[in-house]
C-alpha cells in the first residue's frame, strides 16, 4: 500500500495503534482518552480496540498519571501517558524530574522505566491561558529524560513508535497547531525500532531544505514556519538551509555544525522563550564548534520573556514568518 495523506493527530493515533498491536505491554493512560478519544482525538478508537485495561481513563491528576505509570513500568509495562495540555504537566513535574528521570541512575541501571509522556504543546490555536506553552527546556535540562518533537505526520507516526520502543523515558511533544496538517504517511513500512534506529531516527536532525546562505534550525511547530520563510527568501535570492532538529535531548549538534560550516550563519527558531531556551544551548555549542566558520553571531527567534500572552496577541509573540526573515536579514547584514 502506498503512502496516504494523513493529519499529524491521525498519524500519531496510527503509530500508537501499531505499537499496541506489536507489544501487549504497551498501554495508554490519561484524561478523557477513552470513549472521547482525547481532546484532540489522538487516541480515537483505541479503547474500543484494546479495551479499558490498555487505554485507561484515569482520575484527573497528572502526578497520579505519571507516578502510576512509573509503577506500571516497574511491573513490566510500557505506559504512554497523555497530558491533556502542556500547561497541565507541572503537577507531574516532580514525578517526571525527580523520579522518572533518575530511576535508571538510582538503580545502577537495574530499573528501566520506559514511560512516554505525550503532550500537545505550543500556541497558535487561539486558546485560553495555560493551553499554548512550550515547556521543553525544563525537561531537556533534566538528565535522564529524552525530549523529542515531530514536525510532520510522517514523523509523528514513526517517532511515537520509536519513543515507545526506547528503554528510557521520553517526553513526546506534539505541536498542536500542526495536528491537522496532512502529509504522506507510509503505514505499511515498520519503523526501525533498534537502538541504532532510534539514534539515526528519533534523535537525528534532518535537513528538510538545502541552501547555502543561512542555516535555520528549529523543531516541532516552527519547521513549517521556517520552510515558508525559506520559500520567501528564495524569491529574494537567499537560500536557507532548513534543519528540523526533531530531538531536543539528545541534540544533534553534528548536523547543524556541518551545515553552519558551509553557510557560516545560523538562526534558531522555537516558540519557547528565548531566554535559557533550547536555542541558547544550540547557539553556545555551535559557537564552540564553528567559531572560525561563523560570519555572524548565532541569532535566536522565539517567545519573549513574558508569560504566554492572551491569544489575540499570540501572532506577535510567536516566531512567525516575518520575524524569521528579519533574523535572516540581520545575520546576512551583520
Amino acid at each position: 500500500m502506498s503512502a496516504v495523506a494523513t493529519p499529524l493527530a491521525r498519524a500519531i493515533n496510527a503509530g500508537l495503534r501499531a505499537a499496541m498491536d506489536r507489544d501487549d505491554s504497551v498501554l495508554l493512560m490519561g484524561e478523557d482518552i477513552g470513549p472521547l478519544g482525547g481532546v484532540f482525538r489522538v487516541t480515537d478508537g483505541l479503547q474500543e480496540t484494546f479495551g479499558e485495561d490498555r487505554v485507561v481513563d484515569t482520575p484527573l491528576a497528572e502526578s497520579g498519571i505519571v507516578g502510576t505509570a512509573i509503577g506500571l513500568a516497574f511491573a513490566g509495562y510500557r505506559p504512554v501517558c497523555e497530558i491533556q495540555f502542556e500547561g497541565f504537566v507541572f503537577p507531574a513535574f516532580d514525578q517526571i524530574t525527580t523520579q522518572l528521570a533518575k530511576l535508571s541512575y538510582r538503580s545502577q541501571g537495574g530499573l528501566s522505566v520506559p514511560v512516554v509522556v505525550r503532550m500537545p504543546y505550543g500556541g497558535g490555536i487561539g486558546a485560553i491561558e495555560h493551553h499554548s506553552e512550550s515547556p521543553e527546556a525544563y525537561f531537556a535540562h533534566t538528565a535522564g529524560l529524552r525530549v523529542v518533537s515531530p514536525a510532520t505526520a510522517a514523523d509523528g507516526y514513526t517517532m511515537i513508535q520509536q519513543a515507545i520502543a526506547s528503554p528510557d523515558p521520553v517526553i513526546f511533544l506534539e505541536p498542536k497547531s500542526r495536528y491537522w496538517d496532512k502529509a504522506e504517511v507510509d503505514e505499511a513500512t515498520a519503523p526501525d525500532l533498534s537502538e541504532a534506529g532510534l539514534t539515526t531516527g528519533l534523535h537525528a536532525a534532518r535537513t528538510v531544505r538545502r541552501g547555502g546562505d543561512v542555516t535555520v534550525a528549529g523543531y516541532g511547530p516552527t519547521v513549517k514556519t521556517m520552510l515558508a520563510a525559506a520559500e520567501v527568501a528564495a524569491g529574494e535570492g537567499t537560500e536557507l538551509e532548513v534543519i528540523d532538529l526533531r530531538s531536543i535531548s539528545p541534540l544533534d549538534v553534528d548536523t547543524v555544525a556541518a551545515s553552519v560550516e558551509r553557510t557560516g550563519r545560523l538562526v534558531v527558531v522555537h516558540e519557547a522563550p528565548v531566554f535559557f531556551g533550547p536555542g541558547a544551548e544550540l547557539a553556545a555549542r555551535i559557537t564552540e564548534r564553528c567559531f572560525y566558520h561563523l560570519e555572524a553571531p548565532v541569532l535566536r527567534v522565539g517567545g519573549y520573556h513574558t508569560p504566554y500572552p492572551a491569544s489575540k496577541h499570540e501572532e506577535h509573540y510567536l516566531p512567525g514568518l516575518d520575524r524569521v526573515l528579519d533574523a535572516v536579514d540581520r545575520t546576512l547584514t551583520y
Binding site: A61, S63, G67, T68, A69, F74, S107, P250
Partner: protein, 388 residues
Amino acid sequence: MPDPLTTLETAADVTMFQVLDAEGRRRESPGGEPFAPYVAELTDDLVRAMYRDMVLTRAFDAQATSLQRQGELGLWAPSLGQEGAQIGSAHALRRRDYVFPSYREHGVAHVRGMDLSLILPLFRGTQHGGWNVHTHNFHLYSIVIGSHALHAVGYGMGIQRDGDVGTGETDRDRAVVCYFGDGASSQGDVNEALVFAASTAAPVVFFVQNNQWAISVPAATQSPVALAQRGSGFGIPSVSVDGNDPLACYAVSRAALDRARSGGGPTFIEAVTYRMGAHTTSDDPSRYRASEEEERWAAKDPISRVRRHLEAEGVADQEFFAAVDHDADELATFTRDRCRAFAAGGAVEMFDHVYQAPHPLVAADREEFVAFENGFADADADATGGAA
C-alpha cells in the same frame, strides 16, 4: 440560631487495635473480632522470630547511628522505636508481594531477607540506591516524601493486568505494601495514590507509620483527626493499630494483604508508633519536643513489650534471649566492617546508567571529564620527571 456546621462530627473515635497492651499482656480490642483468625496464626515461633528481628534491627540501627557519628556515614535515618510496626507488618508479607519503602524501613528490609548493610552505601555516599530491588521485592528507598505511593499503586495496577489478583492460588496472588509516615500523608502524591488505588481497586496496602513527628512538626499539624480516618473519605477501608505491638500489626496487615490479593482492593492502616530517635542524625529533637514525651513512649517500647510477653507466657528462656543478643552483636560487628569496606568506584562511574541506551551528551561529558583528569596525570608525570 446555632451554626448547623458545628453539629457535624469531624472526629469520630478511632479504636486502636491491640493484641498486647503496653505491659505485654494479651488483650481483646473492642471490634477486633475480624482479625481473630490472623491473631490465631501468631505461634510462639513466629512471636520469637519477631522479637529476634526487632532486636537485630535495633542493633543494626544503633550501629549505623554510631557509624554516622564516627564519620563513616554522611547521614543516617534511625528506625529506633518503630521496630514493632515494621517487623509485625513485614512478617505478614509473602515472598511474591512487593514493598515500596520510605527511607527508614530497615526492619522491613531485614524481614524481607535483605542484607542490611546494603542500605549503607546510600548514606555513606558511595552510590545511590544500593540493592537489587528484584532480589527481595523490596524497592529502593524513597527520599522525595510520598512520591513512591503512586509507584506502589501503579505496580498494583500492573499486578492486576498480570492476572495475579483474585485467582485464589496462594503461589500466584500478589499484593503491594507502601510504607510512609504521618508527614507524607499530607503530600499530594499520597492523596492522588489513594484516589487511584480506590478508583482501580488496586491491591495495595497503605501502611502509615504515624511516628508523631515529621522532623519537628507534630502529627496534629498534618491532621486534626486520626490519620486512620483519612482512608474512608477516599472509599478505602481503614484501620488504626498499635504500631508498638508487632502482633497486632501482623494481624491487621495479614487481613489487609489477604483482601488485596483476593481482589478486594486497597486498605489504609495507621500504625500509631513513635520515632524514639532523631529524624536523622542531622536533627536535634530537644529543640521541639519534651523529654517527658519520649519517656512516656519509651514505656511502650515494642521490644520490651514482646519480651515481657514471651517471659510471661513462658515460651522463651534466658538462653533464647542471650542467643538473640549474641546474634545482634554479631550483626553490629558485621555492619561496622561492611560499612568501612564500602568504597566508591572511580569518579568516571558517575556517568554510568544516566540512560539505558547511549546518549551522546553524556558520552561527550564523560570524554571531556576523562581528558581533563588525564591532563592532571600528565602534569603530575611532568612535575616528577615522569617517575610517577
